[in-house]
């Protein structure tokens, strides 16, 4: 195979312990481009619509995509997918590090796990040796501790992905951890691993990956190396990573503080990038094939607690577990980051759920009695530590919060759903969209619930006018096509995006690797196809019109920003509705947010149109036909 693929797919039946090898389906990869695309198609085809995400019929997929592990910059990503227990829809999440490349070096493009193991196991791969091994010794220990132990037991040269106690215990926002600090955090992929009693994956390999035109690829990459070395963004990224953007977010009224009550954090100077570099940084860290090394390996030093080591906090965690919890010391934020990592919780959802609980405590909706005698006050590390312990072990009301803020609000009632800051069950990332309407729309319409990586529009909102929602939908549609391509090809968006490597150049690399000879337009069309398929899948599983799933919590329009540079700003409910109308129109869906047959047929998804029609959620035909300008032609000036 001279196309970037390693050649073999493994199917692991965890119920029976049977492991089967198949030649990787090249046609499937060609059509869906690997990573998120292949995952979307397999989940759609193989998981029955009524399957319980915790049940044996849910499948768990590890997909390394086409470009990961190849001779290109930052070909480091691994994509995970299964039906999300958090959103009950298509779920995918990815991480950097070295796992994906190593899987390819061992000969594997994809691992597909089915069933449920009768006892805890881990998958051991050493080139051709593939075994399910007993994980009793590792079950119950933290993600980071487990990785360390497995490296001691198997060898330093194994790349390892683990889950923590959160995943084992069914906390719905559990993550997968690798390389002592890289996480596939979103959509509860660690939860699904835990439900299958799969504690870890350990892999070692030493084979080569063959590509279509190595000489052309080498020439192109050599040029990119020389160019990016001189790029003005390179040195600041290498030194500081993403943590420095927190002050900018605060100055520009998008930083969530105190469970998204406001966008101004008065103590931002205590948790920002300066503090991280001064008090916590040990060294810089990079993923496979990357010289941008945005990872910051750090320590958290908190009196009365052991010194702990971690990667981060990067921007998202500094926001969701820092300002959003009212923390006033970077070491405390780093300590919370470490706790979440070792417990195996997504720090974005973990921060969002904790902030929601803090506000419930402040309002008297939960009490000291509910919290086993503890309080849950803004800025208290002791309180957060105790609360997370209740959540991870599902003790008392900890069980409510282990289901995420949406489910916890359903238990608590009293109007708390208005400030459970999530969409489709998944907590928002580290940006408030009230005065960045495109960002709010990005959260509302993301196929996996509120997550920034599908579309991030804040600078576009600033450039186009923050008071207006006009035209934002088309920008969001464009971004929802271009950005997920990185998760499809399994390369890092930060490296390629921030160092001025154009989409045309990325596609050129892809062509050198695969020999496909495709254009950016074709890639965007594939991304649109994937987006429509995950939407259909969501509707087929959740059986309602699409629009009902696309609203943010009422705080987003009922409460104006109360303090700081954004004081008094915020969208209205009418603007939220208008953005949804424009978004559906831009996608060629009907006003209920249901995909129409015209668009699905245009994208060769006739089978999905038939399935939606059978259950009564196919969109009504659009008067005048399908809009011809979806995708690339929506490319806004700002890009």
């Amino acid at each position: 195979m001279n196309n970037g693929l390693a050649g073999t797919t493994l199917r692991v039946n965890l119920t029976t312990g049977e492991i089967k090898r198949f030649p990787t389906d090249e046609k499937l990869f060609r059509r869906w481009h690997g990573g998120r695309g292949v995952i979307a198609k397999l989940l759609y085809d193989e998981v029955p619509r009524n399957a319980d995400p915790f049940g044996p019929e849910n499948i768990f997929i590890v997909n390394v995509g086409i470009m990961s592990g190849c001779y290109i910059p930052s070909g480091s990503k691994t994509e995970f997918g299964s039906i999300s227990p958090l959103t009950n829809g298509h779920g995918d999440s990815n991480m950097g590090g070295h796992l994906g490349p190593m899987l390819k070096f061992a000969g594997y493009d994809m691992l597909i796990f089915t069933g449920i193991s009768p006892k805890p196991v881990f998958l051991y791969i050493d080139n051709d040796t593939v075994e399910l091994r007993d994980a009793a010794k590792y079950w119950g220990i933290g993600s980071l501790d487990c990785e360390e132990q497995l490296k001691k037991d198997l060898g330093e040269d194994f790349e390892i992905a683990t889950i923590g106690p959160a995943g084992e215990n069914g906390v719905l926002f559990s993550c997968i951890t690798h390389d002592f600090g890289r996480q596939a955090g979103r959509t509860g992929q660690g939860t699904v691993m835990g439900s299958k009693k799969l504690k870890a994956i350990a892999v070692r390999g030493n084979r080569s990956i063959l590509v279509h035109d190595l000489e052309a690829l080498k020439k192109q990459v050599a040029e990119i190396i020389q160019r990016t070395k001189k790029h003005p963004n390179m040195e600041p990224w290498q030194k500081y990573g993403t943590s420095f953007f927190i002050r900018w977010s605060n100055d520009n009224a998008v930083l969530p503080a105190y469970n998204f009550k406001t966008t101004y954090y008065e103590d931002v100077g205590k948790i920002d990038g300066d503090q991280l570099i001064e008090h916590c940084l040990i060294t810089h860290k990079a993923c496979f094939g990357c010289w941008m090394n945005c990872g910051k390996y750090t320590k958290a030093v908190v009196e009365g607690r052991p010194v702990v080591h971690l990667e981060g906090p990067e921007y998202e965690t500094a926001a969701t577990c820092g300002s959003n919890l009212g923390m006033k010391d970077i070491n405390h934020v780093a300590y919370i980051n470490w706790m979440m990592d070792n417990l195996g919780m997504d720090s974005m959802s973990g921060g969002g759920v904790t902030a929601f609980a803090m506000e419930c405590f402040e309002k008297g909706f939960i009490t000291k009695e509910d919290l086993e005698g503890y309080t849950l006050k803004w800025g208290s590390l002791d309180d957060v530590e105790h609360f997370l312990d209740m959540v991870v072990h599902k003790r008392g009301i900890g069980e409510w919060f282990a289901g995420g803020s949406k489910r916890a609000a359903e238990k608590i009632g009293k109007g708390s759903e208005k400030f459970a800051m999530q969409v489709k069950g998944q907590e928002m990332s580290g940006y408030d969209g009230r005065w960045a309407p495109g960002m709010l729309l990005s959260y509302m319409t993301a196929d996996i619930g509120a997550h920034h990586n599908r579309s991030w529009t804040i600078t576009v909102d600033m450039a186009e006018g923050r008071e207006s929602v006009e035209g934002r939908a088309k920008i969001v549609v464009y971004l929802q096509h271009i950005r997920p391509l990185f998760d499809t090809w399994c390369i890092c968006r930060l490296f390629w995006g921030e160092l001025d490597i154009s989409p045309e150049e990325i596609v050129e690399s892809l062509n050198h690797i695969t020999g496909w000879g495709i254009t950016v337009d074709e890639a965007l069309r594939t991304s649109e196809m994937i987006w429509n398929l995950t939407r259909c899948h969501y509707l087929e599983r959740n059986r309602d019109i699409g629009r009902v799933f696309d609203y943010p919590p009422a705080r987003s329009w009922e409460e104006k920003i109360p303090s700081g540079p954004g004081k008094g700003k915020g969208v209205t409910k009418e603007q939220v509705e208008k953005m949804l109308d424009e978004y559906y129109e831009a996608r060629g869906w009907d006003e209920n947010g249901n995909p129409t047959r015209e668009v699905l047929v245009d994208l060769e998804l006739d089978f999905a149109a038939d399935n939606l029609e059978k259950i009564g959620f196919l969109g009504k035909p659009i008067p005048g036909g399908v809009p011809p300008i979806r995708g690339e032609k929506y490319k806004p000036k700002a890009f």
Partner: protein, 79 residues
């Protein structure tokens, strides 16, 4: 006095470099902050997250001196 502003990615187009691919020579007055200088040349300061000079990050209230070279860093979504 003269300073040299550098920018890549989306900011580069707004900066309109004239010395090399990334750099623009700016004549300005002593004592002005970066924020003021950006406003003078028609760049919305909100589109700059921070500046980077001599290996250090500085805020937009930083006051540059004659001959200094300064990189403008655009904001970006976290990982």
């Amino acid at each position: 006095m003269v300073i040299y502003l550098k920018a890549g990615s989306k900011l580069r187009e707004r900066l309109k470099p004239d010395i090399d691919y990334y750099t623009r020579r700016i004549e300005t007055e002593e004592g002005k902050t970066i924020k003021e200088i950006l406003a003078d040349i028609g760049i919305n300061p909100a589109l700059v997250a921070f500046v980077y000079t001599s290996g250090k990050v500085k805020g937009l209230h930083y006051i540059p001196s004659d001959g200094q070279s300064i990189t403008l860093q655009p904001p970006v979504a976290g990982g």
